[in-house]
C-alpha cells in the first residue's frame, strides 16, 4: 500500500447538463494538510461530498485508504472525520449528547476532554442552537476528530469565526497533523491555505487549474513583487514616467503601488526620485506575491498583479 491516503483518478460528476467536476485527479499523502481551493461553484463541495460517500461519481475512481466511498460506506465511517459546512446537528442536541451520540456510533468512548480542550467545557449542557457560530464550529470539529480518524475533511472550518477562534482552530489542525492525521481543507481563505496547507489544488469550473505547494504555486505566477510607497508630499503621484522593472502601477489611498520584476532595482530608483524632489518617505512595503494573488491570476483571467 503506497502512502496515499486519498486517491482521486479522473473523477467526474455531472448534474443534468452541468459538469460539476470534470475529470480531476489528485492524491493526498499521509500526514499532510491538503488545501482544496476554488471560487464558488468550482466543484470543491461536490468533490468533498463524493469522498464522504454522500454523492456517487458519474465516472472515475475515488479511494480513501483503498476503500471506495460509494461501494463501502460502512468501512468509511471510522476512517474519516467530517466537519460539514452546514450545521449537521439537531438544534436541541446538547454538546455532551452530541459527543455521546456520535462516539456511540463510532464504537469509541466519548471524549469530553476534547470538548474542554476546544473551549466547550462550560457548554456541555448547552443546546447546539444556543451556541455561537465559533462554538458550533468547535463542537463540529471535536465530533469530527473524536474517533481519531486517519483522514479529516474540513469544509470552510473557520468561516465566520473571530480571529481568536480561528487561531485556536489552526492550532488544533496542527496538533492533528502532528499526530499523523491527514487533513483535506476546503477553504476560501487564501491566507489560511497558505499558512496551513502543505499542498493545494485550485479548482476552477470543475477542473484542477493548478496544484502544488503554496510556494510552488506563487513562484509559478507572474513573479511580480508588490512595492507600496507613501511619502510626505506625495510627489510620486505627479511622476509621469515609469521606474525601472515596473510592470504596472496604481494609486490606492495614500500609497503608490508598483508591481516590479526586480525590487532591488526599482526601490533605489524610487528613493532617488524622492530625494531629488525633496520629498521624504513615510512608509515602504515590499511584498512577495501571495497565494491569493496567484489564485486571482488563475481564477480571474482579467486579473494581473495589481489588477
Amino acid at each position: 500500500m503506497q502512502d496515499d491516503v486519498v486517491l482521486v483518478e479522473d473523477f467526474r460528476k455531472v448534474y443534468g447538463n452541468i459538469n460539476a467536476v470534470d475529470g480531476i485527479s489528485f492524491e493526498v499523502h499521509r500526514g499532510e494538510i491538503f488545501g482544496l481551493l476554488g471560487p464558488n461553484g468550482a466543484g470543491k463541495t461536490t468533490t468533498l461530498e463524493s469522498l464522504e460517500g454522500l454523492r456517487q461519481p458519474t465516472s472515475g475512481s475515488l479511494r480513501i485508504l483503498g476503500v471506495d466511498p460509494t461501494l463501502q460506506p460502512q468501512r468509511l465511517n471510522n476512517m474519516i472525520g467530517v466537519q460539514l459546512q452546514a450545521s449537521g446537528l439537531p438544534g436541541s442536541m446538547t454538546s455532551k449528547e452530541a459527543m455521546e451520540f456520535f462516539c456511540a456510533y463510532h464504537h469509541v468512548a466519548p471524549r469530553p476532554d476534547l470538548l474542554v480542550r476546544l473551549g466547550l467545557g462550560e457548554k456541555l449542557s448547552s443546546q447546539y442552537s444556543t451556541l455561537s457560530t465559533g462554538l458550533q464550529r468547535r463542537l463540529s470539529l471535536a465530533l469530527a476528530v473524536a474517533h481519531d480518524p486517519p483522514l479529516v475533511l474540513l469544509d470552510e472550518p473557520t468561516a465566520g469565526l473571530d480571529v481568536g477562534s480561528r487561531v485556536e482552530l489552526h492550532e488544533v489542525m496542527k496538533e492533528l497533523k502532528a499526530k499523523g492525521s491527514t487533513i483535506i481543507l476546503a477553504t476560501h481563505d487564501m491566507a489560511e491555505a497558505e499558512k496551513m496547507a502543505d499542498r493545494v489544488a485550485i479548482l476552477l469550473k470543475g477542473k484542477i487549474a493548478a496544484t502544488g505547494t503554496p510556494t510552488q504555486l506563487t513562484a509559478a505566477g507572474s513573479g511580480l513583487v508588490k512595492i507600496s510607497v507613501s511619502s510626505e508630499t506625495g510627489v510620486l503621484k505627479s511622476y509621469t514616467g515609469v521606474f525601472p522593472e515596473v510592470a504596472q502601477q496604481l494609486i490606492k489611498d495614500e500609497y503608490l503601488i508598483y508591481y516590479s520584476s526586480d525590487a532591488g532595482t526599482t526601490v533605489p530608483a524610487i528613493f532617488d526620485y524622492l530625494k531629488a524632489h525633496g520629498d521624504h518617505l513615510v512608509d515602504l512595503r515590499v511584498e512577495r506575491p501571495s497565494l491569493e494573488d496567484r489564485f486571482l491570476e488563475i481564477t480571474q483571467p482579467d486579473y494581473s498583479n495589481g489588477g
Binding site: I80, P90, A104
Partner: protein, 271 residues
Amino acid sequence: MTAFFHHFLYDFRIGLREKSLLMLNYLFPLGFYALMGLLMTGLNPTFAPTMIPSMILVAVMANTMLGLPNPIVESREAGIFRSFKINGVPAGSIVTIPVLSSFVHILLVSAIITITAVPFFKAGMPAHWGWFVLILLLTIFAFASIGMLIGVVSPNSRSIVLFSQLIFLPSMLLGGLMIPSSMLPPALYRVSLLLPTVHSMNAWMGLAFDMTPVFNPVWSVLILLSSGVLAFAFSIYLFNWDNKNRLKGRNPLLALITWIPFVLGAIFIPG
C-alpha cells in the same frame, strides 16, 4: 446496541424537551381529554363508554400525524441526516427510533387517560385488558409507521401539513371518535373505512370493550397490521439522506400502496 440505545434516549428526550413536541405529545391530547371529559360526558351520554379509546386515538394522532413527520423533513433539509450518514448512523435507526419514541410517549399518555378517565369522568373500562393493550400497540405501530412514511416522502414542511391533515381532520370528524361510524350515512360510512381510527375503534369495541362492533373486528386488526407493516417497510425503502440525492426508481407515490388494505376494506367490508 449501545449506539441504538443512545439514539433512542436522545430522541425520547427531544419529545419532552422541544416545546412543539411536548405540546403535541402531552399537553394537547391531555388538555383535549380533560376538556372533552368535562363537556362531552354531560352533553352526550354515549361518549363515556368509548371515551378511553377515543381520547387515546386523539393522543396517537397528535403524536404521529402532527408531531412525528416534521422533524424528519427538518433534519433532512438541515443536513442532519447527511451528518448522521457520514458518522455511521443507519437509515434503519433513523426510521425505527422515532417510531419507538412514539410508542413510549403514547403509552404514557394512554396510561394517564386510562387511569384517570374512570374516577373523573365515569368512562367505560376495558373488559379484556390483553386485547386493549394489544390493539393499542397495533394502533400506535400503524399510525407511527404512517407518520414516518409521511415524513419520508414529504419534500417539505408544507406537504407534511397537507398529508397529515388529510388523515387527521377526517379522522376527527368521521373516524368514530365523537360519533360511532355506524351512525354515519352509508356513503360517508364507506369513506370512513379508509381511516385507520375507524378500524382501531372497531377493534377495541369488539375485542376489548365487549361492545357491539360495526363489523368483524378481525378485519380491523388485519387492516391495521398490514398497513402498518407496509408503511414501515416503505419508510425504509423510500428513505432519503438529503433532498438532493433522491434514490433513482424509488418513487414517493409508492407510499400509496400503504392504503391498499384500507381501500380493500372499504370495498369488501359489509355494512
